[in-house]
């Protein structure tokens, strides 16, 4: 269905709701919607038209608020609504679009907006036991450079409890736990054996990256875009560069575009190896974990040897790449990647014949397709539950449309399905790398990129799932607003679904099969 038709349907269903539709270049549109009709329109797009909800983008302008609700599918739709600055109240859409739940909580916490009808606002990004209510750091005029002294934390704050059964208690885990792990805290409500309610308490690592980026030049912001989540840095930097290139109205040269795909897949391969090693480790299979860790280290070295940095930092820049590659060296890396996959296959065959391993994954940590859609899950985790969204397919960028690859999908939604998915995707990545080196054209890897003022939205399929970058640039070339919509944010939102009603021993295993990044969520 094209946008014209969709909009004429919407107009007849909701008379007077849509004020204006502005088409954007790439088969997308910005739909200006009246505040009162927001709920109904979003409900319809999400529940009737099956668009994926990708996030909420809030902007404070000198006199008004602008909110954009991002729905993605074959088209990119931004449902836009607004209000004068003093009316910081919007209807909550999260009852109909559950995926919007955390996005509204974020906007409430950081901008001080109110979402009418939202059941649970407050204590989210800024922890109430460290900050008093009423501080909205993303507001214009909040100085990001100084720490706030004299805060009045709420010392009465206690974790929320739902379970009232006799003997019920909360088992706290973290934020510092288990060897070398990222900082996150879990409150697991239980009556003994099973985790009945799970609340991950996140944002211990909130660094205010979006606020820090405001007022910075593109070059400086690139460092933040790339490094707020180092394990998937290349994908994030790429999304940022694509957005900047949109504003400059250029495309990176052909060679750079293919090399970007090459490196994005090398990163995905390495990321997935890390997740697979983590899954083996969580079940206590130390030898298997070591075997996969060897492969991960080799992938890191391939990146380091070729691009100078094991995590590909500093490689992609607006306009292309900072460094040209030797064709032969790329070919060798692609061959090595295939070799890694061959050895991974060997490990996989031994794994599936290890019953102690399989028993801990099969039918453990299930997420249904409806849940995945409802919570807006992304990436391998969603695809393991038969909810198949892959931006490389549905919104191809950088030239993915000319590559031949599969988007693996599984139906069971359990831990084993997720493991299979990570394995299958790693193999596809190696395949794409091979095609990339075969298709590598000669030429430059960099074109000058002069971004002009405006707004841009760019998405890439990061290793954890689709991620979107929204940026607004002013006429001086500095960022007015920079917002990430990351897959880990959506996947953490749905994580509790998988662990509830499973035992405590299953918890670390289910956590490992989700392959979640805390840094990517916390920002």
């Amino acid at each position: 269905m094209d946008i014209e038709e969709l909009m004429s349907q919407a107009r007849s269903m909701f008379p007077g709701a849509i004020e204006r539709v502005v088409h954007s270049g790439k088969g997308g549109a910005e739909i200006q919607c009246r505040r009162e009709a927001l709920q109904r329109l979003c409900d319809w797009l999400f529940n009737q038209k099956n668009y994926h909800f990708s996030g909420l983008i809030v902007e404070e302008h000198p006199h008004n608020w602008q909110l954009r609700y991002l729905f993605t599918g074959p088209e990119i739709l931004l449902v836009k609504t607004g209000a004068p600055l003093e009316e910081a109240t919007f209807p909550s859409i999260s009852e109909a679009v559950h995926a919007a739940d955390w996005h509204e909580r974020e906007a409430e916490d950081l901008y001080g907006l109110t979402f009418e009808g939202h059941p649970l606002l407050g204590d989210f990004i800024l922890h109430d036991n460290a900050w008093q209510e009423g501080i909205a750091p993303m507001r214009n005029g909040f100085n990001p450079e100084v720490a706030l002294a004299n805060r009045l934390p709420n010392r009465e704050w206690r974790p929320r409890r739902i379970l009232t059964a006799p003997g019920a208690f909360i088992m706290p885990i973290g934020p510092v736990f288990g060897g070398a792990t990222e900082s996150v805290h879990f409150q697991l409500e239980t009556t003994g054996e099973e985790v009945i309610r799970a609340f991950p308490r996140l944002f211990f690592k909130y660094r205010g990256v979006e606020k820090l980026a405001e007022g910075r030049k593109i070059d400086e912001a690139l460092l933040l875009a790339e490094r707020f989540a180092g394990n998937t840095a290349f994908a994030h930097a790429l999304a940022f560069c694509l957005a900047v290139e949109q504003l400059a109205d250029i495309k990176a040269p052909g060679r750079a575009r293919i090399l970007r795909i090459f490196f994005a897949e090398l990163e995905r391969l390495r990321h997935h190896l890390g997740v697979i090693a983590g899954i083996c480790n969580s079940t206590g299979l130390v030898v298997a974990a070591s075997q996969v860790a060897i492969l991960e280290e080799e992938a890191l070295r391939l990146a380091g040897g070729l691009a100078g940095h094991r995590y590909l930092f500093g490689l992609t820049v607006p306009g292309g790449l900072s460094l040209d590659m030797n064709d032969q060296a790329c070919r060798e890396v692609a061959v090595n990647a295939q070799d890694i996959i061959r050895r991974l296959d060997g490990i996989k065959n031994t794994l599936i014949n290890t019953s102690s391993f399989m028993d801990r994954l099969e039918e453990v940590g299930m997420v249904t397709r409806d849940q995945a859609r409802g919570f807006g899950l992304a990436g391998p985790v969603a695809r393991a539950s038969d909810y198949c969204n892959d931006l490389r397919r549905i919104q191809p960028y950088s030239g993915y449309e000319s590559f031949d690859f599969k988007v693996p999908c599984e139906t069971e939604g359990d831990g084993y399905a997720r493991l299979r998915l990570f394995l299958a995707e790693a193999a596809q990545s190696a395949r794409i790398m091979e095609q990339a080196v075969a298709a590598l054209p000669p030429g430059a890897v960099f074109a000058p990129c002069e971004a002009t003022a405006g707004q841009a939205l760019a998405g890439v399929e990061a290793p954890c799932g689709g991620m979107w970058n929204w940026l607004r640039l002013d006429e001086y070339g500095t960022l007015e607003r920079y917002h990430f919509l990351t897959p880990s944010f959506s996947n953490w939102h749905g994580f509790h679904l998988a662990v509830e009603y499973f035992t405590f021993q299953d918890f670390p295993i289910i956590l490992a099969t989700f392959g979640l990044s805390v840094a990517e969520n916390d920002r």
């Binding site: 460290a130 501080i135 750091p137 100085n143 450079e145 100084v146 720490a147 706030l148 002294a149 009045l152 510092v176 288990g178 060897g179 070398a180 792990t181 990222e182 900082s183 211990f204 690592k205 909130y206 660094r207 205010g208 606020k211 820090l212 460092l223 490094r227 989540a229 180092g230 394990n231 840095a233 299979l285 030898v287 070591s290 075997q291 860790a293 060897i294 991960e296 280290e297 890191l300 070295r301 990146a303 380091g304 040897g305 100078g308 940095h309 094991r310 995590y311 930092f313 500093g314 900072s322 060997g346 031994t350 014949n353 290890t354 960099f446 990044s517 805390v518 840094a519 990517e520 916390d522």
Partner: protein, 254 residues
């Protein structure tokens, strides 16, 4: 299970020959810019715009503050005269003000790791210390999940507001004598995040730092070098500046 034993044996030894020998396999380290040697021509290197202030010109000489470099490669790629760059990974700097307990850490070291807001890359590199390529067990270093039996605290990240309490508590829970190692540019100097409304300019504002490992992230070998320095089995690359403390700006909550 026997299948895994066979698989393990078949893999053979992949472990690095470091520290007995040097390790120069491709991709083990991103390297760092190095200071100009005496007599080396500084040329037009003055023009670098290092985003973190790691590279500066002082009296006609190029000065490198390793703890600030984030390997953005902007001083070496697509510039007329690249800054001098060196491979290697032995970058550890150590505080040596006489307060160290001699011999306390010469044998084995138990390590507790805390993520105070890193991007995840440092944590990943620390994890890799346990993989067969580096295998720090063979050298008597062990990562432990609890601070109660740890000798050494490895801290990554610029110290976010929400992690301050956890960081302090973890440190307090460790028995004395204890040491603190700042891993990576964020923990040393705030890195790309810098000092801001929810991040600090490194951990020196919160804890006494004994050892710093530059890098963004420092590769596993750089961290291994730090452990060996602490155990007295390798020499540090340099001494730590006497005061790492920064002056963090604060404002009244409105």
């Amino acid at each position: 299970m026997s299948r895994w034993i066979i698989k393990g044996l078949k893999t053979g030894v992949v472990t690095t020959r470091y520290p007995r020998h040097t390790e120069d396999a491709p991709g083990v380290s991103p390297g760092l810019p190095r200071a100009m040697r005496p007599g080396e021509d500084a040329g037009d290197t003055l023009g670098y715009d290092c985003p973190t202030g790691a590279l500066r010109h002082v009296d006609g000489r190029l000065v490198v503050e390793r703890g600030r470099c984030v390997h953005c490669f902007r001083c070496v790629r697509n510039v007329a005269k690249p800054a001098p760059w060196e491979d290697g990974f032995e970058w550890t700097a150590i505080r040596d003000d006489g307060s160290r307990v001699p011999g306390a850490f010469q044998h084995s070291i138990y390590i507790c790791v805390i993520d105070a807001g890193g991007c995840g890359a440092c944590i990943n590199e620390i994890k890799h210390l346990n993989n067969p390529y580096y295998n720090i067990h063979r050298l008597g270093f062990f990562i432990t999940p609890t601070p109660r039996k740890a000798d050494l605290l490895l801290v990554v990240g610029p110290v976010t507001d929400h992690m301050k309490v956890a960081l302090q508590k973890t440190y307090d829970a460790m028995p004395t004598p204890k040491r603190v190692m700042a891993i990576g540019a964020c923990a040393i100097s705030g890195g790309v995040f810098g000092s801001g409304f929810v991040t600090g300019a490194g951990i020196a504002d919160v804890l006494p730092v004994d050892v710093t490992i530059p890098g963004c992230p420092p590769p596993p070998l750089a961290i291994l070098h730090g452990l060996l320095v602490l155990a007295g089995r390798k020499d540090a690359a340099q001494a730590l500046a006497p005061s790492l403390k920064s002056t963090k700006k604060t404002a009244e909550a409105g």
